[in-house]
């Protein structure tokens, strides 16, 4: 049949504006529910991968037995030195880490009012290597770190709950020039950065590799205190393919099975997966996403099936005119896509506001990346179109005879 194309799905839905707004808001709430739950889940998992995210690396070398950053499996520095020979590898630097032995004395100079000495994450790197990009680092800090027994501190360490010291971290006031002790050794704070706390630790300080190994390795290890490293950070020639070079580096140093080479993205994923599997965070908030999906699907089904019911006579007329069932089906499916988009846009906007609010109250960053926004869009479309298919059953019952 040759008739001008009419955007029937659109007209059907928007004919009653108030109702359309109500429909869209129903879908929008499902979108908000899914995005917020997804955002929380990602924030909690992301916070545990922050060190990896900030590594200035193309490839990361690690002991394959080390399941997560919190464990202590190291590997030999000589393995890292071997990688320099691989064409395409520009630099290789060592990262030293300690979660157990590093204890920072509270910075309060008065022993009477001073809080307790507490554990924290200690990172040791060569200050000249820029192996890690510390966010919002005070300028000139890396140069100052060359002096022995100096440290960079985390301005976003866990905030203290003590009402007498508002705005301070659990380690006391942290400012450049303050003197304190790390595991019994005097230490001067020379610069600040912003990293944040996570499941495993309340804060981080960064030392030069020399200072680190003198304080935290020498007393506990025989032989060269710098020999065993926690992570290796490789930078590649610009334009080279990290996946290809990963294989080559793995071939050169990985034959003994004592080291594993990963791209930076793989290292982040591995850490995320460990926390996903070891805590119920993934389940708790993943369940929220699924519930949001199901609720949205039922809402959408309800809208579409009542739309078919309301326009039964009109649909019957179309059938009587000679439009095939396929045409009616396509209208319902178009409606489901329109509903998905009409709910998605305001829903995402609200979710974006909710992310900003939650980031403010929880000090844990909820970020809406393009990929995550796209994931929610995908979920919304699947949710609406699936319920559209369910509603098709109703359309099939439309009988041309119903006109009369």
């Amino acid at each position: 049949m040759n008739v001008p194309w009419v955007p029937l799905a659109w007209l059907n839905l928007t004919h009653d504006r108030v109702r359309f707004a109500l429909f869209a808001s129903g879908i929008a709430f499902a979108v908000v529910l899914m995005s917020v739950q997804l955002g929380i889940m990602n924030a909690m998992l992301d916070s545990n991968t922050i060190v990896f995210q900030k590594l200035n690396a193309d490839l990361v070398v690690v002991n394959p037995a080390r399941p997560s950053i919190l464990f202590r499996h190291t590997f030999q520095r000589s393995r890292l030195d071997q990688t320099i020979g691989v064409p395409g590898v520009v630099s290789a630097h060592a990262i030293y880490l300690e979660h157990e032995l590093g204890r920072l004395r509270n910075t309060d100079p008065n022993p009477q009012t001073r809080g307790r000495t507490r554990r924290l994450r200690v990172i040791g790197v060569d200050p000249a290597a820029h192996a890690i990009d510390l966010p919002h680092l005070d300028p000139g800090s890396w140069e100052k770190l060359q002096t022995p027994n100096t440290a960079l501190f985390d301005r976003k360490a866990r905030p203290s709950l003590n009402p007498r010291s508002p705005g301070e971290s659990v380690y006391g006031k942290l400012e450049p020039g303050m003197k304190t002790e790390l595991s019994g050794h005097e230490m001067t704070l020379v610069g600040g950065f912003e990293l944040g706390f996570d499941f495993g630790c309340d804060g981080t300080i960064v030392l030069s590799d020399r200072t680190f190994t003198t304080i935290l390795r020498e007393p506990y290890t025989l032989g060269d205190p710098m020999a065993d490293i926690d992570y290796g950070v490789l930078r590649l020639q610009p334009g080279s393919d990290p996946n290809e070079l990963k294989k080559q580096v793995q071939q050169v140093i990985g034959r003994e099975g004592d080291v594993m080479v990963m791209t930076k993205a793989e290292a982040i994923d591995r850490e995320r997966n460990f926390w996903w599997a070891s805590t119920p965070i993934g389940f708790a908030f993943g369940a929220g996403v699924i519930l949001g999906f199901v609720v949205g699907m039922v809402i959408c089904y309800q809208i579409l099936s009542s739309d078919v019911a309301d326009h039964f006579a009109q649909y019957a007329t179309l059938r009587a005119i000679g439009y095939p069932n396929r045409y009616l089906s396509s209208i319902v499916l178009q409606e489901s896509v329109i509903l998905a988009l009409a709910g998605y846009l305001p829903g995402l906007l609200v979710a974006w506001g909710a992310y900003a609010y939650l980031t403010k109250i929880s000090a844990m960053p909820l970020t809406l990346t393009l990929g995550r926004a796209a994931l929610v869009l995908g979920l919304t479309l699947v949710m609406c179109v699936a319920s559209g298919f369910l509603a098709l059953n109703k359309v099939k019952k439309v009988d041309p005879a119903d006109v009369f």
Partner: protein, 413 residues
């Protein structure tokens, strides 16, 4: 006919429509129950360990944050506390974690290979005092004193461990793991894999089980002797994380607490059971992101649930407009119609609530056994959600009544 009678007949007559609306309400109810359950799981996480321990007062480090960050104290503090009046005994407890090699698992989909690792919690106790450290009774950590003593003896051997039966299933099932021979075994279908019980990459000897339950702090738990604990975690042997104080009969907890506070240096805190449980709950509910975020999730579930119920009710009532118009045309007063709609709301609330509650029991079971979150249905929660459902339905019914009053008898034709 009374308004209730008509409401009932309305719902019974249009069975499919009623079923859809009730299913909608049920979904909202399940959503709210689920989020409340997980929020409650945070609270249970906070108290699960302390509920399983026997103590009147507890010594912790002054650094104590929560059970996951307990801080440690010198064991000499325990000895000092033992000297105080009214104290019957003080027992050390160690808490830490290790890397657990998840064993091969025989599931619905065949055998899954071993090899994945997870972080597992570890409790270290004096093996000869296991029966005094933990609650022993039916349904508690150990079923009986005799069982606790027998397993304690087995724990005394270096490298022996007990496994929490309520650990998340992918950490392994006790029965399957007990059947693994000490030297390990091959896994059918996965050549090159060796199934063995490993902690921190070392063989351990699994000698039995206990019941504690997992939570947000840990997904699985092991029990060892103090010696094995020190060996695997590197904790110095002269330190402990907790001192469990039991009092002599007749001694008053608060008096002994005051005395201990005077006696002991400020590196330890003395808390009553109630104080530590309150501290732990406050910490988890208000200070950890898990508690805060699940609180947000509960609020969100309620809002979405309410909107959802409104959509269902509005659609249901819209569908019945011709019937209402007829009733009006027959001469019934608006008040009568209001009664009908409100009764209908309450009936739908109940019809939706019942399957929603049943579904929630299933969801809780899954969450508990597969998600590792200790969810439990409480009577208060069932009542609160029932009232909330009725409230949501009545509110949306009230909103929808306007449409009914706008129904013109003439619309019939």
């Amino acid at each position: 006919m009374t308004p209730l009678g008509l409401a009932w007949s309305n719902l019974v007559h249009k069975r499919t429509r009623t079923a859809v609306a009730a299913a909608g309400v049920a979904f909202a109810v399940a959503l709210i129950f689920m989020e409340l359950g997980m929020f409650g799981g945070v609270e249970r996480t906070a108290t699960a360990l302390f509920d399983g321990l026997r103590f009147d007062l507890i010594l912790t480090s002054s650094e104590y944050g929560d059970v996951g960050r307990a801080g440690d104290i010198p064991k000499t503090r325990l000895a000092q506390a033992r000297a105080a009046d009214g104290v019957a005994d003080v027992l050390p407890l160690h808490l830490g974690n290790g890397v657990w090699q998840k064993p091969a698992h025989k599931g619905w989909l065949g055998v899954s290979p071993p090899g994945n690792v997870g972080s597992i919690g570890m409790i270290g106790v004096p093996p000869d005092r296991v029966a005094d450290v933990f609650a022993v009774d039916q349904g508690r950590v150990f079923h009986s004193r005799a069982e606790a003593e027998r397993l304690g003896q087995a724990l005394a051997r270096q490298g022996a461990i007990l496994f929490d039966r309520q650990s998340k299933p992918d950490f392994g099932s006790l029965e399957e793991m007990m059947a693994v021979p000490p030297g390990g075994e091959d896994v059918p279908g996965y050549p090159g894999f060796r199934n063995a019980i490993r902690l921190n990459d070392r063989r351990v000897d699994l000698v039995g089980g206990f019941n504690l339950g997992s939570g947000f702090s840990w997904n699985g738990m092991l029990m060892t002797s103090e010696e094995t604990f020190a060996d695997f975690t590197g904790m110095p042997r002269d330190r402990a994380n907790f001192g469990l104080i039991t009092l002599k009969p007749g001694a008053k907890a608060t008096e002994v607490q005051a005395q201990l506070k005077r006696l002991l240096p400020p590196d330890v805190h003395v808390r009553t059971r109630q104080e530590i449980v309150d501290h732990e709950e406050r910490y988890w509910m208000q200070l950890t992101s898990v508690g805060q975020f699940l609180g947000v999730a509960v609020a969100l579930a309620i809002v979405v649930g309410a909107i959802f119920v409104y959509q269902m009710m509005a659609a249901d009532i819209r569908g019945m407009l011709p019937e209402y118009a007829t009733v009006k045309a027959l001469g019934y007063r608006p008040l009568y119609l209001t009664g009908v709609v409100l009764w209908q709301s309450v009936l739908l609330a109940v019809f939706g609530y019942a399957p929603g509650l049943v579904a929630s029991f299933a969801l809780y079971y899954i969450t508990r056994n597969f998600g590792g979150i200790p969810t439990e249905m409480t009577f208060e929660r069932t009542v609160i959600v029932l009232l909330m459902t009725c409230g949501m339905c009545l509110a949306s019914g009230t909103l929808a009544i306007r449409k009914v009053h706008a129904a013109e008898p003439a619309d019939l034709f």
